[in-house]
Symmetry: D2
Subunit: 158 residues, 4 copies
């Protein structure tokens, strides 16, 4: 999807939200949140969801998600001490990989500030070899799919 198309995202396009307070050192010497900091946010909301809703334990799970590619488009500058609202969705759910998208909004502002995300490939935590998602992980991530899959064949007949 092009960056121009992503610019029209609203909070209604995301399924799971968390609020993050920015920090003094998030601002670089141009006095706005540095571009790299957004990726720290992507990691934070994604792993928070995996821990809370997909039974991930970073220190003991047999499968962990490693990032193979990431991207971000920046539309409006943000600056400490703003409070940010992050929205998370899943755009694609494969056998062993997931594509997440995160929308970044400032508290009290309608317009999207930035949008990005990354692709996780799940691997065995010891061998680091690719592995199929556990059912528990798949079920948790399916709830973030956008657009939501039709939940029942019957309902699609209406």
């Amino acid at each position: 999807m092009s960056n121009a198309a992503l610019k029209s995202r609203t909070r209604a396009d995301y399924a799971f939200f968390q609020t993050y307070r920015t920090r003094w050192t998030d601002n670089d010497q141009y006095a706005h949140i540095n571009n790299a900091i957004y990726y720290h946010f992507f990691d934070s909301i994604t792993n928070a969801y995996l821990i809370a809703h997909c039974a991930l334990s970073p220190t003991s799970s047999s499968l962990i998600g490693l990032v193979v590619s990431s991207h971000c488009a920046y539309f409006r500058p943000l600056a400490y001490p703003a409070v940010l609202e992050l929205g998370l969705r899943v755009n694609k759910l494969g056998r062993s990989s997931v594509e997440y998208e995160v929308g970044v909004f400032e508290e009290g502002e309608e317009a999207l500030a930035a949008v990005g995300g990354y692709t996780h490939v799940f691997v065995d935590s010891a061998s680091r070899k690719t592995a199929a998602l556990h059912e528990e992980t798949r079920n948790g991530l399916r709830r973030l799919l956008f657009p939501p899959p039709s939940s029942s064949p019957a309902s699609s007949k209406l």
Copy 2:
């Protein structure tokens, strides 16, 4: 004050609070919040207070606070995705310098996790020469003094 004495600090010993969500990369490879991250928190709550209550504008104020020394004692490990409650107080307010103390608590936990702080010297933002605190800054910081200065001359006669 010794670290042992500081260990008994409670939320009642602090004057201003902010809540911070931890981030994935706050954990180092020992799976707990890295010791350096606490200093990022100290900077964040201190400057947030200066901006909100002491008229500091980091990009345009004529005086800014620079850190000349800092310290921290760690009592209990914390880990992402914990939510932290930071308490701020001022231990000493000089002509051009301030000693801040920050207590770090985990949401829902009584016991102090860490305590630290730093000394700010206020300087001219252009020349970086030491300067006396503006009255507005001094008034804002005086409200964080612990123990609070006696509020009325009458009471000091007793």
Copy 3:
């Protein structure tokens, strides 16, 4: 260009190099360099080149570069305490924008570990409105163009 095509990049595909020592907190709790850290490296080599070869002064230049989009593909994990060699090139040089690419190599290793980059739009440092690159900046960045533009019409006749 697809990530698969980028994977075959070698040091010969880059024009400017810097060596960076990794840090303890670059490793996240999976014991490898966190995906967000690569973007800190991109910012570091790009601005170092702009300062050294394009007359950028981040605190006083009338034009500064702001990041409008960024991306990275990760091929091989890296871990502290590795020393990294970063290579920089320019893929596109517009009137007011530049597309940088950075290749990340581990010292002593042939294979590319990661590749990414970002697009800078140059803006007036005060108004933050888009502006055409200064000639000095354009000349410095042109030396990083890949493939290099033919340097003289005469030579292209051979």
Copy 4:
């Protein structure tokens, strides 16, 4: 030791050195290396020494070092893109704890920019209970003691 006394430290007061290139985001919006970044450097040189000379493997050693207190005094501002030279020494070596000191110098500058350090307590990596240093660790750290312990009674007669 008072901060004033530490200010006179020179490179000759340290036993192990590493060079670190600063990064764009080390500078905060006051355009100098942020105070918290120095602690990231302390962690980096200390663990690099432990890995190279004390057989530490952060992912597999049975004992790991946890930071129980840290401190820093800042004498001269530093700024990206400076290259820094860090010097490491051990001030105290206990049964299960170590006090490190790190001097921060800018490449090409005589004067000390900052000095700080921290205390490591070694713990079992699984139970996180305090444990006596392994002989291999103790031997490595002893070589950093300042002032150096007299190596043999005989030699002092000369």
